[in-house]
């Protein structure tokens, strides 16, 4: 990357700076030296006859300093440094985009809304101190409910971190129904950890008791896993021979914590992918092309202020696609309620307008543009992308 050129130039500046500063020191030392010599001469004259009067010593000093020209000396060393500094700055401007605000629309974000978004983000990250401080500094309304909910989550996670399952188990028990609705296996996973601990300790009856109390109620949704878990009871004492043991022993506590926070956010009606992080990440992927466009558009930037749609598609990647859109491969139109996607008998999909056009308004059969099959409008089915 071009940053290397900048780094090289920068290190050069640092070297020149050191040179210039030792040069400064030398200049000062030299003046000092002359001053001290003059001082000595004046003082040493004490008891002698005045062969040299102070005035001529000072005159000598002046001509010595004039000859040496300290101001010129200082200037010349700095001059080169200054040139290097400006050069380095230009290299930086070349390597990186010097003004990313060019891609900005002239709109103002509402301060209150921004503060709320940032506070939510900080609390969601478990940065309670910073969040509280921001609330205090901005006078934003306190987010007491959210704060206490998130505090609970971070306390559970903290306990999990120290291998204390109890708070997590309490939480999944209270939220049993909702977790089941979400199809989460978190409850099973947590009980599985405790169960396997008992198995490892070699206590068959304790393990069995635990399984009856906590695993049995989960049987209907996790039969497979529970069968394997129960099978481990047989191998107690010689677990290394158990075909499932390695599979079932949960060693990745971090993953367990991740799943817990995912479910926790879900039950709060939020997402564990923090919205501010998602939006800023999307911004970092969009800005480069947006800035390229601004450079191309040049003077026409006023158009940018009013555009209804970005002038180019941005591929943010799979994990940023939250909605389905259908674009008809023939007309390039986006599917709408009035012009929905239609499934042809051959499996190809076109928008309704294309089909009507090809069938001359439903007056005859037509050939699919993507395969040799003939269809009639009646054979086509409207599709819904929920």
């Amino acid at each position: 990357m071009e940053l290397n050129t900048f780094r090289g130039s920068f290190e050069h500046v640092v070297k020149k700076r050191k040179l210039s500063s030792s040069n400064c020191l030398q200049v000062v030392d030299k003046i000092n030296h002359e001053l001290e010599r003059a001082l000595l001469r004046v003082q040493s004259d004490q008891d002698l006859t005045l062969t040299v009067d102070p005035k001529s010593i000072l005159k000598d000093l002046k001509s010595k300093l004039d000859e040496f020209g300290p101001e010129k000396e200082l200037e010349s060393s700095q001059k080169e440094l200054n040139t290097n500094l400006s050069k380095t700055q230009k290299l930086l401007e070349k390597a990186l985009n010097p003004d990313i605000s060019k891609a900005n629309r002239k709109i103002e974000f509402d301060g209150q809304t921004m503060n709320k978004i940032i506070t939510d983000h900080l609390l969601s990250q478990g940065m309670f101190d910073v969040g509280d401080c921001l609330i205090k500094e901005t006078g934003a309304p306190e987010a007491n409910l959210l704060r206490s909910q998130l505090l609970e989550m971070y306390q559970i996670l903290e306990a999990l971190h120290t291998r204390n399952l109890q708070p997590a188990l309490n939480w999944v028990t209270v939220n049993h129904e909702k977790l089941k609705e979400n199809g989460s296996s978190l409850e099973l996973k947590l009980h599985q950890v405790r169960f396997m601990e008992l198995v490892q300790q070699g206590s068959q009856s304790d393990a069995l008791k635990y399984a009856r109390a906590h695993l049995a109620p989960l049987a209907c949704s996790h039969m497979d896993e529970i069968q394997k878990l129960m099978a481990c009871l047989v191998w107690i004492g010689k677990l290394e021979k158990c075909p499932y043991f390695k599979l079932l022993a949960i060693t990745n506590w971090e993953k367990l914590g991740d799943e817990l926070s995912r479910q926790f956010f879900l039950l709060l009606g939020r997402s564990c992918r923090l919205p501010l992080a998602v939006a800023v990440e999307a911004g970092s992927k969009t800005l480069p092309s947006l800035l390229k466009l601004m450079n191309l558009m040049g003077v026409k930037t006023q158009d940018w202020q009013v555009m209804e749609e970005l002038p180019f598609p941005v591929d943010l990647g799979k994990s940023f696609q939250f909605h389905s859109t259908f674009i008809c491969p023939v007309t390039r139109d986006q599917g709408t309620l009035e012009n929905p996607p239609m499934l042809l008998p051959c499996g190809h999909v076109l928008c309704r307008h294309s089909i009507l056009k090809m069938s001359k308004n439903n007056s005859r059969t037509f050939k699919c543009p993507y395969c040799p099959l003939d269809s009639s409008v009646a054979q086509c089915r409207q599709l819904h992308f929920p």
């Binding site: 000062v28 401007e93 969009t286 941005v314 939250f322």
Partner: protein, 422 residues
């Protein structure tokens, strides 16, 4: 991303020797694995180009310190030299000469200490520039999520500093251990000026202008002129008319050549006084003029340090929300993973453009995954489309029965049709 080639090469040959048949498959898989991070890395190097301010501010700070230190050395040396010059032509007694020279020597000692202190500060600032370069270069496919997380924190600190939430900014930087990656110290300089202006004091602002005179002049800044105008208006407000006229003569007249019109307008306040109802002049007496000065100062300050004029957070959010915004975002069933499902983000995005769609992109309602050739869309008899993966899993769990999650319609897995969507 330097990888020691030796141990890697060794394991590769060992594997190849053990399973020669799978050699080709393994290398194909490795190639595929390598391709994905490559895409990430190209995204990454593009987004690193957005980090100009991140390097520029500490560099500018470094430059500024170097120049200021040098100026003060030059000034001090000239002062000593001219003291020597003037003494050489005066009739000093011996004692006078001794005390004169001694005072100059101790002055130079002071300068030397200052030089050493200056060098120390310059070294620290150079170190900070390096730390930032290192941080940018440390970003690679393996630590991307951690790196992005730090970037967001940097962006938030930038926002807080610009909004004068200094305590929160310091706390966030400290808890995240990113003090070297944010510009808290640079904003100290701004804070003094801003807080003085909020208290209707112009002295620190004027001192700041004096410190940066040549650069402000180069950018044709009006800030100092505005400060002087405000001081004048305050004199008129206090009915201190004679002083106001003297002030105008001394501090406003020099700007006449460039800002004559505005100058005339403000001087006319002398005739109207602060109670005026005349709109043109009333506005000059309004308290919000001080807020305007704060805003103007901020703009000059950002420009001087090579910062963006808008907070980084706003710039990233504008671009990001535009790329995410679709007409579906404003419907109730916008998924929670989408920032635009939240009212606050919808509000921000209200006057931003929509994203552009060029190809069909289908997201499975059940798994939230993108449908593609590996996980193609399947159509229920009622026309609803879900991913093959989701429907297979549903059929597996329910003896081949499929229940449409949106309409409740039940059908058999065998009733599904394939759809080809390009």
């Amino acid at each position: 991303m330097e990888i020691d080639p030796l141990p890697n090469g060794n394991t590769a040959t060992e594997n190849a020797a053990a399973r020669p048949a799978s050699d080709a498959v393994a290398s194909l898989a490795a190639a595929a694995k390598a391709a994905a991070p490559a895409l990430k890395v190209s995204h990454l190097s593009d987004s690193l180009k957005l980090e100009h301010q991140f390097l520029r501010v500490p560099f500018e700070h470094y430059k500024k310190t170097i120049r200021a230190n040098h100026r003060s050395v030059e000034k001090e040396v000239s002062a000593v030299i001219s003291a020597v010059d003037s003494s050489s032509s005066s009739d000093f007694s011996r004692d006078d000469a001794v005390s004169h020279l001694s005072s100059l020597v101790s002055r130079l000692q002071g300068l030397k200490r200052k030089l050493e202190e200056g060098s120390r500060v310059e070294n620290l600032q150079a170190q900070r520039c390096r730390a930032r370069l290192d941080h940018l270069e440390s970003a690679d496919a393996d630590n991307l999520s951690e790196w992005s997380n730090t970037r967001l924190k940097r962006i938030l600190v930038d926002y807080m500093l610009r909004m004068s939430y200094y305590e929160s900014a310091a706390k966030l930087a400290e808890t995240s251990n990113i003090q070297d990656l944010v510009d808290i110290d640079v904003f100290h300089e701004a804070r003094r000026v801003i807080e003085a202006l909020q208290n209707k004091e112009v002295a620190p602002a004027l001192a700041w202008c004096a410190d940066n005179r040549s650069r402000l002049k180069k950018s044709k800044s009006k800030f100092e002129f505005q400060l002087r105008l405000q001081e004048f208006v305050e004199l008129v407000r206090a009915d201190n008319n004679m002083r106001a006229i003297l002030y105008a003569r001394k501090y406003l007249a020099p700007w006449g050549a460039i800002h004559m019109k505005e100058l005339q307008r403000v001087l006319a306040t002398l005739a109207f006084k602060s109670g005026t109802e005349c709109a043109t002049y009333k506005v000059l007496f309004e308290v919000k003029q001080w807020d305007n000065l704060v805003d103007l100062f901020k703009q000059e300050f950002y420009r001087l340090y090579g910062m963006t004029l808008e907070p980084l957070l706003n710039i990233y959010l504008q671009a990001g929300l535009s790329a995410l915004k679709t007409p579906f975002c404003y419907e109730d069933d916008c998924p929670k993973d989408d920032p635009l499902s939240q009212e606050s983000f919808r509000k921000l995005a209200a006057s931003l453009p929509f994203s552009k769609q060029q190809h069909s992109k289908l997201v499975c309602y059940i798994t939230k995954e993108l449908m593609d050739t590996e996980n193609p869309p399947m159509v229920l008899p009622n026309g609803y489309v879900y991913s093959t993966k989701a429907l297979e899993e549903m059929a597996r769990r329910n003896n081949g029965k499929i229940t449409c999650p949106r309409t409740g319609v039940v059908c058999n897995y065998s009733d599904l049709a394939k759809a080809y969507i390009s």
